[in-house]
């Protein structure tokens, strides 16, 4: 841990904090370079010490090749590659990536640019102010919002969130979000405690965090869904979602 200067406002770099971004990828050849560029831009502008850990599940579209080029460009200490042999799922990808993380904080976000790195400094600021164990983004409160959703999609989203809130009383306004900042040891504890997959996994993490008595803060974020193309939500996903809530209701 570095020493704080006593004569000027301390810059995060000076306090010795390092933020490890975990980026699981599958077929993100188009999006990966852009999200990495945005992350590097944000961290560099705000003088934040970082690393980006890319966990690619053997994408057939050559995502790993692009990742290697990015590594050559930005350096092996900034871009860390942890490829896996196959599509093994999100929860294990996070755990696998976290093992290599040398930071004391972990950031997770989607690689498809629905989450914008420009909010990260706000996450960090809020975390520092209240010493939160977890900071999560919300699309529903404050200045949060969504682009690209029609009324039907919004209704499903808010309805689903309301259902989950009534059933689980999670204490956050947006339960299925996956743009989050964690203290590293809290993240490791939570990953070990969770059992589900997909976005139910994201819900479970928050519910278990409450269970473990961890403190959670929220940052309003803008969510740009499917920059290219239309957002679809099928009946299957809705059924899985309900099953997920039921499981959490009984298990937490």
């Amino acid at each position: 841990m570095g020493k704080r200067s006593s004569t000027k406002v301390s810059v995060p770099e000076a306090t010795g904090d390092k933020y490890s971004v975990l980026l699981p990828t599958y077929n993100e050849r188009q999006n990966l370079p852009v999200i990495v560029w945005l992350l590097v831009k944000t961290f560099t502008e705000h003088k934040i010490d970082y690393e980006i850990i890319i966990v690619d599940d053997n994408s057939p579209d050559g995502t790993l090749e692009i990742a290697k080029q990015l590594q050559k460009l930005y350096g092996e200490n900034r871009i860390v590659l942890r490829p896996r042999a196959g599509k093994l799922g999100l929860g294990t990808a996070y755990g696998y990536g976290a093992q290599e993380a040398t930071g004391n904080f972990v950031i997770i976000l989607d690689a498809d640019m629905s989450h914008h790195p420009k909010f990260i400094p706000e996450y960090i600021r809020l975390q520092k102010k209240y010493n939160y164990d977890v900071v999560t983004g919300t699309r529903y409160a404050g200045n949060g919002g969504v682009y690209g959703w029609d009324l039907r999609r919004k209704l499903i989203s808010r309805g689903a969130n309301y259902l989950a809130t009534v059933a689980l009383s999670p204490g956050v306004t947006d339960l299925t979000g996956s743009f989050r900042l964690y203290k590293k040891h809290a993240f490791e504890k939570l990953i070990a405690a969770t059992k589900s997959k997909g976005y139910v996994f994201q819900m479970e993490i928050i519910v278990r965090a409450r269970q473990l008595g961890l403190t959670i803060g929220e940052v309003p974020i803008t969510f740009v869904d499917r920059v290219f193309g239309e957002s679809k939500l099928g009946g299957d996903e809705i059924v899985n979602y309900m099953k997920g809530i039921w499981m959490l209701f009984w298990d937490t």
Partner: protein, 97 residues
């Protein structure tokens, strides 16, 4: 204790209190004074709770939809940043299609 356990416990507690009030004539000793309005209100409390919950839910959902922010400007600036990123990376040797 899981959420389910807590919910079941609260529900049982409420149900017990409600049943006692409903049948207070046979269940409670005669000298405890229960006002007449309790007899009128108790039978309909569950239905009232259900309707109130339904109304609250609808109101909540309606309000949520009404205040759901659209962020078109976020999309616009993101599109710009994407092309900026791509051209910068192309210049620096990353194969962007």
């Amino acid at each position: 204790m899981s959420k389910a356990t807590r919910t079941i416990a609260s529900t049982l507690l409420f149900a017990t209190v409600w049943l006692v009030l409903l049948f207070h004539a046979s269940v409670l000793p005669q000298d405890i004074p229960i006002p007449a309005w309790v007899d009128e209100i108790t039978p309909v409390v569950p239905l009232w709770l259900l309707v109130a919950f339904g109304a609250y839910s609808l109101g909540n959902l309606g309000w949520a939809l009404f205040t759901f922010r659209d962020c078109d400007d976020a999309h616009t600036s993101l599109i710009q940043e994407i092309s900026q990123a791509k051209s910068d990376l192309r210049k620096r040797g990353v194969s962007i299609d």
